[in-house]
Homo-oligomer: 136 residues x 3
Amino acid sequence: MIYQTEISVNVGVRGYHLITHQIIENLPSMPEKGLLHLFIKHTSAGITLNEDADPSVRTDFESFMNKLIPENDPVYTHTMEGPDDMPAHLKSSLIGNSVTIPITGGRLNLGTWQGIYLCEFRNYSSSRKIVLTMYS
Amino acid sequence: MIYQTEISVNVGVRGYHLITHQIIENLPSMPEKGLLHLFIKHTSAGITLNEDADPSVRTDFESFMNKLIPENDPVYTHTMEGPDDMPAHLKSSLIGNSVTIPITGGRLNLGTWQGIYLCEFRNYSSSRKIVLTMYS
Amino acid sequence: MIYQTEISVNVGVRGYHLITHQIIENLPSMPEKGLLHLFIKHTSAGITLNEDADPSVRTDFESFMNKLIPENDPVYTHTMEGPDDMPAHLKSSLIGNSVTIPITGGRLNLGTWQGIYLCEFRNYSSSRKIVLTMYS
């Protein structure tokens, strides 16, 4: 059995944003055993799992990733869409644009500290489309 | 229902290569709802999704990733297979060696700008094996 | 059909550890066609596929990733859990915390040189929980 839906999430500004609750709210009752696949339909944003308790982790992700993959690197030739564009493409492939999470006993089987991050790599964005596919 | 096949893709030279059409050509008719899993059976190549419109994005991926994960780094001890080998292993795990794409309405539900990249990290390679598994 | 189980793997110390055999030992007989999803329930460890033949690849992963994502970077503000903590979170999202492997003919359809790495990013850890979900 497959359940599939597409949602729009509007985080607005650059950064690493917790969206665990918005994902769960868009799911019907979950099976005893299964998988949830989340897929962001963009090449300048990402989706990952990481610590959801202390907001400083998300701040440090933003700071460190900007240092690792800087704007205005002299090797970039794809510069027409602004200095935040090519770094956004690189981050998207390094962080990844989908996650698959096990479902167990009617719940997402996440670890104690795992939350779902929407990673917005552009300075500003309109809403981002995420496809949720649940297998049971 | 599961459809599975293994294909060989020969891109020949190092770089980020668009293979969206080759993947689709090797699939039977797609279901209303499902998932496609692509898996590259190699440790010195990768597979990712990114912008498929402007080729300069793929050129910049090559330039930037070579700078981020350089050849001949003094920490490498695994050097017998050539200077491009250990960087290729590192890139393979950072970019990743599989992607899962939702299928909706009989088509891959990719975003407007998303294409499938085969990332060849060795200077030269023979063909690369990709396993396609489609669930419906 | 779905088979799902959760196992604990105790690698003890920081580094990249081959766990292919421990994963296979915890699976029942595998189907003709299917997928295996492995998910590590932690934000300071990762799971990836890479070369399983020469141990120097795993040593070089440890050396290079420590250089790429160093401890005590001045941008970090999340420092209360020790100098190895924030780098561990970053590595976890860059390497990733799950892999999906095709199953073909009753076996994991890995490439000749592909093995499953448990990436322990903390200096010391107790056991790590991995959820195995097999679809057929």
